[in-house]
């Protein structure tokens, strides 16, 4: 108490003390600004690096799509040669019946096109999952190089190393054509989402189910909301002034909706008409199919050119990467910044006649934040898979351990 009194009476050095306090506050502020500023700047760079890596993957992917077009053109050339030889065989055959001519043509088929198809299989990894094709591997490897050039963490070893092993945890992770993949783990394997077109694709599909649409609706008078009702939830209203007036079936929707008069949903009515037409077409095609003796299943085995696996075509690459920084966290450990970028590769088509079309181009698309969670889960799954020793290193596979 006496000391405080003395200090009040004699204010020497108080300003200095207050200044020192301010200096400390300023210093803390400076440290805060410094840390957040540096992290923001690094985040900016990490995002850029990830974007550029994804764009680079897209560039190599786009080049691959042009190669697919070229290979399809070559395949077409080989198919023409096959057809020519078959035509010659038919022309020079002495038989006259249609069946014998067909048999002669099939016998004379040299199957040159299969050489190209086998090459396409190996090159683009068509139907070879889980073994990736040569070109998808090139996309992966080139993207890794660019990731490293951009300062992103790359712990994938060089493919030339004998003790090649999936890193733990792998970074960067690339997910190929995630939309069309059955699982995230499958999309980790480099692929180009391609398949062979089969001859039965030209027969209209019989499996197309028409989307069920609500046939009727009524309007909730208090909220103005339209409540849509399916045909099986409606019944004819008895003793109605309007003939054929429908109402909500008792217990079909809930207490509030019971007995509400319904209005016909015009769009659904049109849809129903379409459905009826399609049913009619379907029945006709089925009749034709039956009469031709299962031609569809026969054509299913006839492989044509390479086309997109999904309809509509989906060619995307998602890059999830780590940008190492020297910024320390509270545990004095270096902080890594995680970022994700996704690109879509788009073009006019993969057929041989698209060869002279503009090349495939890639563009950055926004990444769904939910995807990030999925990717982190994939990373964990990969980690567990590696831990369980289900994936041996290449050196073990080839028995090359020193």
């Amino acid at each position: 108490m006496i000391r405080i009194k003395k200090t009040i009476e004699n204010p020497q050095g108080q300003v200095l003390l207050a200044t020192l306090l301010f200096c400390f506050i300023f210093f803390s502020l400076f440290i805060g600004v410094y840390k957040s500023g540096i992290v923001y700047s690094l985040k900016e760079r990490a995002t850029r690096s990830c974007d550029l890596t994804a764009l680079s993957a897209g560039a190599v992917y786009g080049n691959g799509m042009q190669l697919v077009r070229l290979s399809n053109a070559i395949l077409m050339g080989f198919a023409m040669v096959d057809l020519g030889i078959m035509a010659l065989a038919v022309a020079f055959s002495s038989v006259v019946s249609l069946g014998a001519l067909a048999a002669a043509a099939i016998k004379a088929d040299p199957h040159f096109r299969q050489i190209v198809q086998n090459l396409q299989r190996v090159l683009f990894g068509i139907g070879t999952t889980p073994i990736p094709g040569a070109y998808p591997l090139l996309i992966f490897s080139e993207s890794l190089s660019i990731a490293e050039d951009n300062g992103l963490k790359n712990n994938w070893p060089l493919p030339a190393q004998l003790s090649w092993r999936i890193p733990f945890p792998p970074s960067p992770i690339m997910l190929f054509n995630l939309e069309g993949s059955n699982s995230l783990l499958i999309s980790v394997i480099p692929n180009m989402a391609l398949k062979f077109r089969t001859a039965n694709l030209f027969i209209p599909s019989l499996e197309n189910s028409v989307k069920k649409t609500a046939r009727y609706y009524y309007t909730n008078k208090s909220t103005g909301e339209r409540i849509y009702v399916n045909a099986d939830q409606a019944e004819i209203a008895p003793n109605s002034t309007n003939a054929g007036q429908m109402r909500v079936k008792k217990g079909a929707l809930g207490k509030e909706s019971n007995g509400k008069f319904l209005v016909i949903n015009q769009e659904a009515e049109k849809e129903a008409q379409k459905e009826a037409d399609q049913e009619f077409k379907k029945a006709s095609i089925q009749k034709i199919e039956t009469s031709l003796g299962g031609i569809s299943s026969l054509l299913n085995g006839v492989l044509l050119d390479v086309t997109d696996q999904d309809t509509p075509p989906n060619h995307t690459v998602l890059v999830y990467s780590t940008f190492p920084t020297s910024v320390r966290n509270t545990n004095q450990a270096s902080t890594n910044l995680e970022c994700a970028s996704e690109i879509s590769v788009e073009g006019t088509g993969l057929s041989a006649w698209n060869l002279s079309d503009p090349p495939y181009q890639c563009r950055l698309i926004s990444t769904d934040p939910n995807r990030i969670i999925e990717i982190i889960n994939t990373q964990t799954q990969l980690k567990n898979l590696i831990n369980s020793n289900k994936i041996p290193p290449l050196s073990n596979i080839f028995n090359l351990n020193p």
Partner: protein, 171 residues
């Protein structure tokens, strides 16, 4: 003795003296925070300008003339209102090939094959694998505030690097 005691106990102007001593320190600290914020802002401008330039390159916007000078010009243009933090001449771009398999392994290996096979393979490779890329190191000098120019007369250096591939190599 009395006089000396009186002088000792007089505190007139003491606070003023202390203020004179500490205000420059406070001012310097506030100015350095301000300066540092501007520096970070400039850095962000530069990073964004670099990204825009790389994306333009990837889209094939300057396929005819994509030397370091053209890249530096594009970065300067993309800086927009951030130009006030830099000198145009201080932006220096150094380019080099990327470390991709194509530029690091395939092309050097093909170049070692003697003619006529080598050039033939080279031209077909250029047609089949027609993507290309560059890696750039970008150096720029940030204008310090007048008060800090005493400490940094030529400005504060900033360096960043980026790499990207583009397809097709020639539009």
């Amino acid at each position: 003795m009395n006089l000396s005691n009186q002088i000792k106990n007089r505190s007139n102007g003491q606070a003023l003296t202390e203020m004179v001593l500490v205000i420059p320190i406070l001012f310097l600290m506030a100015a350095s925070i301000f300066q540092f914020s501007i520096f970070l802002s400039a850095k962000t401008y530069l990073e964004q300008a670099c990204e825009q330039t790389a994306r333009l390159y990837a889209s094939g916007a300057f396929s005819r003339n994509e030397g370091p000078g053209q890249i530096a010009n594009q970065i300067w243009f993309a800086l927009g209102s951030g130009q006030r933090f830099f000198n145009e001449t201080s932006i220096v771009v150094i380019d080099s090939p990327t470390s991709t398999l194509l530029s690091n392994s395939f092309l050097p290996a093909i170049n070692n094959i003697p003619p006529p096979v080598g050039p033939l393979i080279a031209s077909s490779t250029a047609n089949l694998l027609s993507y290309t890329g560059k890696k750039w190191i970008i150096n720029a000098q940030f204008h310090a505030l007048p008060i800090f120019r005493v400490l940094f007369p030529v400005g504060l250096p900033m360096t960043t690097q980026m790499a990207v591939l583009k397809y097709p190599a020639q539009e």
